[in-house]
Amino acid sequence: MAIAGDLKTFNFVDIFQILLKDRKDGILVIEQDHNNIAVYFKEGDIVYIREVKKVFYIYLDVDFETVLKKEGIDKSELYNVLVARLPKLLSIKEGKFSFTSGFIKYPPDIKSLIPIEKLIMYLARQLTEEEVERKISDLNLVFEKSPNYENIAKKAFLTDHEKKILHSIDGKNKVTDIINITKLDELTVKRTLYGFLACGMIQREKKKERKIGFDLTKNLLNKIISKIKGL
């Protein structure tokens, strides 16, 4: 199954959210007019970034150690290389992306160097008003904390403002309430909620009750089910 699209309409926060969810291994390829970038993911975290002239070069090497050898990088240098290359990657706003799951074989000593949650929050702080509307399109939305939110929050290196917003999420407060409680501006709150959702720190409120706009009985519902089955 594909994970592909255009960065203009599906940004890095959105992509990282998908890769983080199942802690995916694989290669994210960003194709631009004169530049192609391969981002290597291990268990949902970025472990390496390389630029290539042609996309097919990326798929010549299935072993990560071979990639490093070709690039002349020692494993001990990986953190510094990643830190040096991340700003350029994260500043990209245009280009086509595609993620190939699996494919690359990592040795066991390749570990996460920078938590993806930290990068998600970093990027979320820069989202435009138009982008935040994609997830936080309604001030009446209610969120609740995920069961493991504390662990995720540690990895995300939250600012004091973000901690305040997290504290006000209780499964009852609407977005508008959070703005009033924290006295932060709407864009900051929406950016933070966007990042929290992408990190998996919060989730939509799970509704215990749902409204059915008709007096349905079990008997009538069974009739409808039988009818649909028989069509």
């Binding site: 199954m1 594909a2 994970i3 592909a4 699209g5 255009d6 309409t9 599906f10 959105d14 959210q17 998908i18 969810k21 199942d22 509307e133 994609r134 997830k135 399109s137 309604d138 009446n140 939305l141 959702l197 989730q203 939509r204 799970k206 509704k207 009750e209 749902r210 409204k211 059915i212 706009g213 008709f214 349905l216 009985t217 079990k218 009538l220 519902l221 009739k223 409808i224 089910i225 009818k227 649909i228 089955k229 069509l231």
Partner: protein
Amino acid sequence: MAEKKIKIVVAGPYAAGKTQFINTISEIETVKTEARTTKAGEKEKKDHTTVAMDFGRIKIDDEHTLYLFGTPGQARFDFMWDILGKGMVGLVVLVDSTDPVTFHEARRIINFFEARYPAPYVVGANKQDLKGAWSPEDIRTALDLGEEIKVIPLVATDKENVKKVLLELLEEISKYV
């Protein structure tokens, strides 16, 4: 005896396959309110688009009829969501699995209905037969949906697929009856 109308709303972004979904299952020819597509970015996808609503009908018994109402996909027609949301028993949100741009619009639709008309709902991941289709699980994550919300793969031209989506929705509705 006066007919009692039971309403299911089929919502989703532009060109997600809502009219096709209703066409596939309706016992009558779907009643359409279409206009020629003129906007750039839309006319490349299809010639006509729903401007008020589509509806299809399934007669349940002498007293009851199930209506499937399709909403217009474009945000400029979102006033129709309010009209159609009132009194619905359930909601099907369709997405085009091959086009992640439409996931944002689908999320906006879900946010709207969840905040105002929180009826049971399911998501139909349409166009699963096409190259480049995202998996239902990745679509679930992209839409910020929990495991409790069903994301069902489908091809809206396939009657059995459409039946499955409706039956899954009815199963959700049964939890609250």
